[in-house]
Symmetry: C2
Subunit: 174 residues, 2 copies
Amino acid sequence: MKEVKSGPNPLFLREEELRQGIEMLYFAYRDFTSEADAMLARHKFGRAHHRVIYFVGRHPRISVSDLLGILGITKQSLSRVLSQLVNDGFIMQHRGLRDGRQRLLELTEKGVEMERQLTEAQRRRFARAYREAGAEAVEGFRKVMLGMIDGAARERFLPAGGHRPPGRSSGDGR
Amino acid sequence: MKEVKSGPNPLFLREEELRQGIEMLYFAYRDFTSEADAMLARHKFGRAHHRVIYFVGRHPRISVSDLLGILGITKQSLSRVLSQLVNDGFIMQHRGLRDGRQRLLELTEKGVEMERQLTEAQRRRFARAYREAGAEAVEGFRKVMLGMIDGAARERFLPAGGHRPPGRSSGDGR
DNA sequence: CCATATGGGTCAGCCTTGTTGACATAGTTC
DNA sequence: GAACTATGTCAACAAGGCTGACCCATATGG
Protein backbone atom coordinates (compact mmCIF):
# COMPACT_ATOMS: atom_id res chain seq x y z
CA MET A 1 0.00 0.00 0.00
CA LYS A 2 1.18 3.41 -0.66
CA GLU A 3 -0.27 5.95 1.72
CA VAL A 4 1.60 8.93 0.47
CA LYS A 5 0.29 11.21 3.10
CA SER A 6 2.11 13.41 5.40
CA GLY A 7 0.40 15.22 8.19
CA PRO A 8 -2.24 13.94 10.53
CA ASN A 9 -5.30 14.28 8.33
CA PRO A 10 -5.01 12.09 5.27
CA LEU A 11 -8.70 11.86 4.45
CA PHE A 12 -10.02 14.87 6.22
CA LEU A 13 -13.25 16.24 4.86
CA ARG A 14 -13.15 14.15 1.78
CA GLU A 15 -16.22 12.42 0.43
CA GLU A 16 -15.16 8.99 1.56
CA GLU A 17 -14.39 10.28 5.00
CA LEU A 18 -17.84 11.73 5.31
CA ARG A 19 -19.51 8.55 4.14
CA GLN A 20 -17.53 6.57 6.66
CA GLY A 21 -18.73 8.88 9.37
CA ILE A 22 -22.32 8.42 8.30
CA GLU A 23 -22.02 4.66 8.26
CA MET A 24 -20.15 4.49 11.52
CA LEU A 25 -22.86 6.44 13.23
CA TYR A 26 -25.50 4.14 11.80
CA PHE A 27 -23.80 0.93 12.83
CA ALA A 28 -22.64 2.23 16.18
CA TYR A 29 -26.12 3.34 17.10
CA ARG A 30 -27.59 0.06 16.02
CA ASP A 31 -25.15 -2.01 18.04
CA PHE A 32 -25.34 0.42 20.92
CA THR A 33 -29.05 -0.17 21.36
CA SER A 34 -29.15 -3.87 20.62
CA GLU A 35 -28.19 -5.24 24.02
CA ALA A 36 -30.60 -3.10 25.96
CA ASP A 37 -33.30 -3.94 23.44
CA ALA A 38 -32.88 -7.62 24.16
CA MET A 39 -33.10 -6.99 27.88
CA LEU A 40 -36.16 -4.81 27.47
CA ALA A 41 -37.88 -7.44 25.38
CA ARG A 42 -37.65 -9.85 28.29
CA HIS A 43 -39.57 -7.34 30.40
CA LYS A 44 -42.05 -6.70 27.59
CA PHE A 45 -40.77 -3.18 27.22
CA GLY A 46 -39.37 -1.29 24.27
CA ARG A 47 -36.74 1.28 23.62
CA ALA A 48 -39.13 4.06 24.47
CA HIS A 49 -39.48 2.72 28.00
CA HIS A 50 -35.75 2.75 28.37
CA ARG A 51 -35.52 6.36 27.35
CA VAL A 52 -38.17 7.40 29.81
CA ILE A 53 -36.55 5.45 32.62
CA TYR A 54 -33.19 6.86 31.70
CA PHE A 55 -34.15 10.50 31.66
CA VAL A 56 -36.35 10.30 34.72
CA GLY A 57 -33.38 8.73 36.44
CA ARG A 58 -31.20 11.59 35.30
CA HIS A 59 -33.65 14.25 36.36
CA PRO A 60 -35.54 13.17 39.44
CA ARG A 61 -38.79 15.08 40.01
CA ILE A 62 -38.88 16.17 36.40
CA SER A 63 -42.24 17.41 35.15
CA VAL A 64 -44.02 15.68 32.33
CA SER A 65 -43.66 18.63 30.00
CA ASP A 66 -39.95 18.95 30.66
CA LEU A 67 -39.55 15.28 29.91
CA LEU A 68 -41.50 15.77 26.71
CA GLY A 69 -39.12 18.57 25.85
CA ILE A 70 -36.12 16.30 26.22
CA LEU A 71 -37.59 13.39 24.36
CA GLY A 72 -39.09 15.44 21.58
CA ILE A 73 -42.24 13.35 21.24
CA THR A 74 -45.92 14.04 21.81
CA LYS A 75 -47.62 13.59 25.13
CA GLN A 76 -49.78 10.85 23.65
CA SER A 77 -46.71 8.86 22.72
CA LEU A 78 -45.15 9.43 26.10
CA SER A 79 -48.37 8.66 27.88
CA ARG A 80 -48.49 5.18 26.44
CA VAL A 81 -45.18 4.10 27.90
CA LEU A 82 -45.27 6.29 30.96
CA SER A 83 -48.53 4.88 32.23
CA GLN A 84 -47.20 1.37 31.83
CA LEU A 85 -44.12 2.28 33.81
CA VAL A 86 -46.22 3.82 36.53
CA ASN A 87 -48.61 0.88 36.67
CA ASP A 88 -45.76 -1.57 36.83
CA GLY A 89 -44.16 0.32 39.68
CA PHE A 90 -41.03 1.62 38.02
CA ILE A 91 -41.93 5.29 38.21
CA MET A 92 -43.93 7.22 40.73
CA GLN A 93 -45.67 10.53 40.33
CA HIS A 94 -46.50 13.19 42.84
CA ARG A 95 -48.12 16.55 42.63
CA GLY A 96 -45.90 19.56 42.34
CA LEU A 97 -45.86 21.71 45.46
CA ARG A 98 -45.73 25.11 43.89
CA ASP A 99 -47.87 24.00 40.96
CA GLY A 100 -50.43 21.40 41.80
CA ARG A 101 -51.09 20.61 38.16
CA GLN A 102 -47.69 19.12 37.65
CA ARG A 103 -47.02 15.43 38.13
CA LEU A 104 -43.37 15.20 39.00
CA LEU A 105 -41.74 11.96 37.99
CA GLU A 106 -39.27 9.89 39.92
CA LEU A 107 -37.93 6.37 39.74
CA THR A 108 -39.00 3.93 42.41
CA GLU A 109 -36.39 1.62 43.88
CA LYS A 110 -37.46 -0.97 41.40
CA GLY A 111 -37.08 1.66 38.70
CA VAL A 112 -33.60 2.58 39.82
CA GLU A 113 -32.56 -1.03 39.67
CA MET A 114 -34.09 -1.44 36.24
CA GLU A 115 -32.32 1.66 35.00
CA ARG A 116 -29.04 0.37 36.31
CA GLN A 117 -29.39 -2.94 34.53
CA LEU A 118 -30.56 -1.42 31.29
CA THR A 119 -27.91 1.20 31.02
CA GLU A 120 -25.21 -1.13 32.24
CA ALA A 121 -24.59 -2.70 28.85
CA GLN A 122 -24.35 0.68 27.22
CA ARG A 123 -22.00 1.99 29.85
CA ARG A 124 -19.82 -1.04 29.40
CA ARG A 125 -19.77 -0.59 25.67
CA PHE A 126 -18.73 3.02 26.05
CA ALA A 127 -16.20 2.18 28.71
CA ARG A 128 -14.61 -0.38 26.44
CA ALA A 129 -14.55 1.92 23.43
CA TYR A 130 -13.17 4.77 25.50
CA ARG A 131 -10.52 2.61 27.08
CA GLU A 132 -9.36 1.19 23.78
CA ALA A 133 -9.34 4.55 22.08
CA GLY A 134 -7.60 6.52 24.78
CA ALA A 135 -8.30 9.78 26.53
CA GLU A 136 -7.29 11.98 23.68
CA ALA A 137 -9.53 10.18 21.24
CA VAL A 138 -12.40 10.56 23.67
CA GLU A 139 -11.94 14.30 23.65
CA GLY A 140 -12.09 14.25 19.88
CA PHE A 141 -15.15 12.07 19.92
CA ARG A 142 -16.91 14.50 22.20
CA LYS A 143 -16.03 17.47 20.04
CA VAL A 144 -17.35 15.85 16.89
CA MET A 145 -20.52 14.59 18.51
CA LEU A 146 -21.20 17.98 19.98
CA GLY A 147 -20.87 19.50 16.55
CA MET A 148 -23.65 17.31 15.29
CA ILE A 149 -26.15 18.06 18.01
CA ASP A 150 -28.60 20.88 17.43
CA GLY A 151 -29.89 23.68 19.50
CA ALA A 152 -31.38 22.98 22.84
CA ALA A 153 -29.97 19.51 23.37
CA ARG A 154 -26.53 20.89 22.76
CA GLU A 155 -26.57 22.90 25.94
CA ARG A 156 -26.67 19.75 27.97
CA PHE A 157 -23.07 19.15 27.04
CA LEU A 158 -21.59 22.58 27.17
CA PRO A 159 -19.29 23.30 30.10
CA ALA A 160 -20.11 25.73 32.88
CA GLY A 161 -23.75 26.66 32.39
CA GLY A 162 -24.78 23.07 32.07
CA HIS A 163 -27.21 21.81 34.59
CA ARG A 164 -30.27 23.65 35.39
CA PRO A 165 -33.23 21.37 35.26
CA PRO A 166 -34.25 21.23 31.65
CA GLY A 167 -37.03 23.69 31.51
CA ARG A 168 -37.89 27.01 30.17
CA SER A 169 -40.06 27.09 33.24
CA SER A 170 -37.06 28.64 34.91
CA GLY A 171 -38.58 32.02 34.62
CA ASP A 172 -38.56 31.49 38.32
CA GLY A 173 -37.17 33.99 40.68
CA ARG A 174 -38.46 31.76 43.35
CA MET B 1 -11.57 4.90 41.65
CA LYS B 2 -10.87 8.51 41.83
CA GLU B 3 -9.62 11.08 39.48
CA VAL B 4 -5.92 10.68 39.12
CA LYS B 5 -5.61 12.91 36.13
CA SER B 6 -4.90 16.47 35.64
CA GLY B 7 -4.81 17.95 32.21
CA PRO B 8 -7.15 17.43 29.35
CA ASN B 9 -9.20 14.47 30.54
CA PRO B 10 -10.65 15.27 33.92
CA LEU B 11 -13.62 12.95 33.64
CA PHE B 12 -12.17 10.12 31.68
CA LEU B 13 -13.92 6.81 32.25
CA ARG B 14 -15.93 8.12 35.09
CA GLU B 15 -19.62 7.52 35.42
CA GLU B 16 -20.57 10.99 34.31
CA GLU B 17 -18.35 10.74 31.28
CA LEU B 18 -20.00 7.51 30.23
CA ARG B 19 -23.46 8.94 30.67
CA GLN B 20 -22.53 11.93 28.59
CA GLY B 21 -21.36 9.62 25.85
CA ILE B 22 -24.62 7.72 25.94
CA GLU B 23 -26.65 10.88 25.74
CA MET B 24 -24.53 12.44 23.05
CA LEU B 25 -24.97 9.42 20.87
CA TYR B 26 -28.70 9.52 21.38
CA PHE B 27 -29.10 13.19 20.56
CA ALA B 28 -26.59 13.15 17.72
CA TYR B 29 -28.31 10.24 16.04
CA ARG B 30 -31.67 11.86 16.43
CA ASP B 31 -30.58 15.15 14.93
CA PHE B 32 -28.52 13.38 12.32
CA THR B 33 -31.57 11.64 10.88
CA SER B 34 -34.05 14.46 11.27
CA GLU B 35 -33.27 16.45 8.13
CA ALA B 36 -33.33 13.48 5.82
CA ASP B 37 -36.54 12.31 7.48
CA ALA B 38 -38.22 15.56 6.57
CA MET B 39 -37.06 15.25 2.99
CA LEU B 40 -38.21 11.65 2.78
CA ALA B 41 -41.61 12.56 4.12
CA ARG B 42 -42.11 14.88 1.17
CA HIS B 43 -41.53 11.91 -1.14
CA LYS B 44 -43.79 9.67 0.96
CA PHE B 45 -40.83 7.57 1.97
CA GLY B 46 -39.39 6.66 5.34
CA ARG B 47 -36.02 6.10 6.87
CA ALA B 48 -35.97 2.52 5.68
CA HIS B 49 -36.12 3.66 2.08
CA HIS B 50 -33.17 5.91 2.66
CA ARG B 51 -31.09 3.09 4.03
CA VAL B 52 -31.87 0.89 1.08
CA ILE B 53 -31.07 3.63 -1.40
CA TYR B 54 -27.91 4.44 0.47
CA PHE B 55 -26.48 0.95 0.60
CA VAL B 56 -27.49 0.06 -2.92
CA GLY B 57 -25.72 3.22 -3.99
CA ARG B 58 -22.67 2.18 -2.07
CA HIS B 59 -22.66 -1.35 -3.46
CA PRO B 60 -23.95 -1.36 -7.01
CA ARG B 61 -25.14 -4.78 -8.20
CA ILE B 62 -25.48 -6.00 -4.64
CA SER B 63 -27.62 -9.10 -4.19
CA VAL B 64 -30.74 -9.03 -2.06
CA SER B 65 -29.29 -11.37 0.52
CA ASP B 66 -26.11 -9.33 0.84
CA LEU B 67 -28.20 -6.24 1.35
CA LEU B 68 -30.19 -8.07 4.00
CA GLY B 69 -26.92 -8.92 5.67
CA ILE B 70 -25.89 -5.30 5.85
CA LEU B 71 -29.23 -4.00 7.02
CA GLY B 72 -29.85 -6.73 9.52
CA ILE B 73 -33.58 -6.97 8.88
CA THR B 74 -35.84 -9.68 7.50
CA LYS B 75 -36.52 -10.12 3.84
CA GLN B 76 -40.17 -9.32 4.41
CA SER B 77 -39.29 -5.96 5.87
CA LEU B 78 -36.89 -5.24 3.06
CA SER B 79 -39.32 -6.42 0.45
CA ARG B 80 -41.88 -3.87 1.46
CA VAL B 81 -39.67 -0.87 0.83
CA LEU B 82 -37.63 -2.40 -1.96
CA SER B 83 -40.62 -3.13 -4.14
CA GLN B 84 -41.82 0.44 -3.71
CA LEU B 85 -38.44 1.73 -4.75
CA VAL B 86 -38.41 -0.54 -7.78
CA ASN B 87 -41.95 0.38 -8.77
CA ASP B 88 -41.20 4.06 -8.43
CA GLY B 89 -38.13 3.75 -10.59
CA PHE B 90 -35.38 4.46 -8.08
CA ILE B 91 -33.85 1.00 -8.14
CA MET B 92 -33.56 -1.53 -10.93
CA GLN B 93 -33.01 -5.25 -10.65
CA HIS B 94 -31.41 -7.65 -13.06
CA ARG B 95 -30.69 -11.34 -12.94
CA GLY B 96 -27.26 -12.42 -11.86
CA LEU B 97 -25.17 -13.78 -14.68
CA ARG B 98 -23.45 -16.62 -12.92
CA ASP B 99 -26.41 -17.26 -10.64
CA GLY B 100 -29.74 -16.66 -12.29
CA ARG B 101 -31.60 -16.73 -9.02
CA GLN B 102 -30.07 -13.52 -7.82
CA ARG B 103 -31.65 -10.15 -8.45
CA LEU B 104 -28.80 -7.70 -8.39
CA LEU B 105 -29.76 -4.22 -7.31
CA GLU B 106 -28.63 -0.94 -8.71
CA LEU B 107 -29.76 2.67 -8.53
CA THR B 108 -31.35 4.18 -11.58
CA GLU B 109 -30.36 7.70 -12.53
CA LYS B 110 -33.35 8.92 -10.66
CA GLY B 111 -32.18 6.83 -7.73
CA VAL B 112 -28.70 8.28 -7.84
CA GLU B 113 -30.11 11.76 -7.76
CA MET B 114 -32.38 10.90 -4.88
CA GLU B 115 -29.51 9.38 -2.95
CA ARG B 116 -27.44 12.48 -3.49
CA GLN B 117 -30.13 14.76 -2.18
CA LEU B 118 -30.94 12.59 0.79
CA THR B 119 -27.43 12.07 1.97
CA GLU B 120 -26.47 15.65 1.28
CA ALA B 121 -27.83 16.96 4.54
CA GLN B 122 -26.03 14.28 6.48
CA ARG B 123 -22.78 14.91 4.68
CA ARG B 124 -23.08 18.57 5.40
CA ARG B 125 -23.73 17.92 9.04
CA PHE B 126 -20.67 15.72 9.28
CA ALA B 127 -18.58 18.15 7.29
CA ARG B 128 -19.51 20.93 9.64
CA ALA B 129 -18.86 18.90 12.76
CA TYR B 130 -15.55 17.66 11.36
CA ARG B 131 -14.46 21.11 10.34
CA GLU B 132 -15.31 22.63 13.68
CA ALA B 133 -13.69 19.85 15.63
CA GLY B 134 -10.48 19.58 13.65
CA ALA B 135 -8.60 16.73 12.08
CA GLU B 136 -7.23 15.34 15.28
CA ALA B 137 -10.63 15.19 16.89
CA VAL B 138 -11.95 13.38 13.85
CA GLU B 139 -9.35 10.68 14.31
CA GLY B 140 -10.46 10.31 17.90
CA PHE B 141 -14.08 10.18 16.89
CA ARG B 142 -13.37 7.39 14.46
CA LYS B 143 -11.46 5.38 17.01
CA VAL B 144 -14.22 5.59 19.57
CA MET B 145 -16.96 4.82 17.09
CA LEU B 146 -15.07 1.85 15.79
CA GLY B 147 -14.76 0.54 19.31
CA MET B 148 -18.52 0.48 19.63
CA ILE B 149 -19.26 -1.39 16.46
CA ASP B 150 -19.57 -5.16 16.66
CA GLY B 151 -18.36 -7.98 14.57
CA ALA B 152 -19.05 -8.02 10.90
CA ALA B 153 -19.94 -4.39 10.45
CA ARG B 154 -16.67 -3.46 12.07
CA GLU B 155 -14.63 -4.80 9.21
CA ARG B 156 -16.11 -2.24 6.89
CA PHE B 157 -13.99 0.33 8.63
CA LEU B 158 -10.77 -1.49 9.24
CA PRO B 159 -7.83 -0.74 7.00
CA ALA B 160 -7.64 -3.29 4.24
CA GLY B 161 -6.20 -6.63 5.19
CA GLY B 162 -4.66 -6.02 8.56
CA HIS B 163 -6.51 -6.63 11.76
CA ARG B 164 -5.01 -4.56 14.39
CA PRO B 165 -6.68 -3.70 17.62
CA PRO B 166 -8.16 -0.24 17.59
CA GLY B 167 -6.37 2.25 19.67
CA ARG B 168 -3.37 3.35 17.75
CA SER B 169 -2.75 4.79 14.35
CA SER B 170 -1.64 8.23 15.24
CA GLY B 171 1.46 8.46 13.19
CA ASP B 172 1.77 4.77 12.84
CA GLY B 173 4.86 4.03 10.93
CA ARG B 174 4.91 3.21 7.34
C1' DC C 1 -65.01 35.90 41.12
C1' DC C 2 -64.91 34.46 36.73
C1' DA C 3 -62.69 33.64 32.33
C1' DT C 4 -59.03 31.77 30.27
C1' DA C 5 -54.61 29.52 29.94
C1' DT C 6 -51.83 25.66 31.23
C1' DG C 7 -50.33 20.85 32.82
C1' DG C 8 -51.69 16.59 32.23
C1' DG C 9 -54.51 12.62 30.67
C1' DT C 10 -57.25 9.90 27.42
C1' DC C 11 -59.74 8.00 23.38
C1' DA C 12 -59.57 6.91 18.60
C1' DG C 13 -57.35 6.19 14.49
C1' DC C 14 -53.41 6.31 11.25
C1' DC C 15 -48.52 5.27 9.56
C1' DT C 16 -43.92 3.17 9.25
C1' DT C 17 -41.09 -0.42 10.08
C1' DG C 18 -39.85 -4.09 12.42
C1' DT C 19 -41.26 -9.22 13.59
C1' DT C 20 -43.07 -14.67 12.62
C1' DG C 21 -44.72 -18.17 9.94
C1' DA C 22 -46.19 -20.37 5.86
C1' DC C 23 -45.82 -21.06 1.25
C1' DA C 24 -44.46 -20.38 -3.93
C1' DT C 25 -41.25 -20.30 -7.75
C1' DA C 26 -36.97 -20.26 -10.10
C1' DG C 27 -32.53 -21.77 -10.62
C1' DT C 28 -28.30 -24.46 -8.89
C1' DT C 29 -26.01 -28.38 -7.32
C1' DC C 30 -25.21 -33.10 -6.41
C1' DG D 1 -34.52 -36.11 -10.02
C1' DA D 2 -33.97 -34.50 -5.29
C1' DA D 3 -32.59 -31.13 -2.46
C1' DC D 4 -31.04 -26.87 -1.44
C1' DT D 5 -30.90 -21.72 -2.25
C1' DA D 6 -32.36 -16.94 -3.61
C1' DT D 7 -36.11 -14.38 -3.77
C1' DG D 8 -40.85 -12.99 -3.32
C1' DT D 9 -45.40 -12.80 -1.17
C1' DC D 10 -49.50 -13.18 1.95
C1' DA D 11 -51.18 -12.57 6.53
C1' DA D 12 -51.02 -11.16 11.12
C1' DC D 13 -48.98 -8.72 14.85
C1' DA D 14 -46.31 -5.14 17.79
C1' DA D 15 -43.83 -0.90 18.91
C1' DG D 16 -43.79 3.66 18.79
C1' DG D 17 -44.26 7.63 16.32
C1' DC D 18 -48.22 10.98 14.69
C1' DT D 19 -52.85 14.03 14.59
C1' DG D 20 -57.23 15.58 16.39
C1' DA D 21 -60.64 16.02 19.82
C1' DC D 22 -61.97 16.43 24.28
C1' DC D 23 -61.63 16.25 29.45
C1' DC D 24 -60.30 17.71 34.21
C1' DA D 25 -57.92 20.32 37.67
C1' DT D 26 -55.29 24.07 38.83
C1' DA D 27 -53.21 28.84 38.10
C1' DT D 28 -53.50 33.31 36.90
C1' DG D 29 -54.97 37.80 35.43
C1' DG D 30 -58.55 41.16 34.96
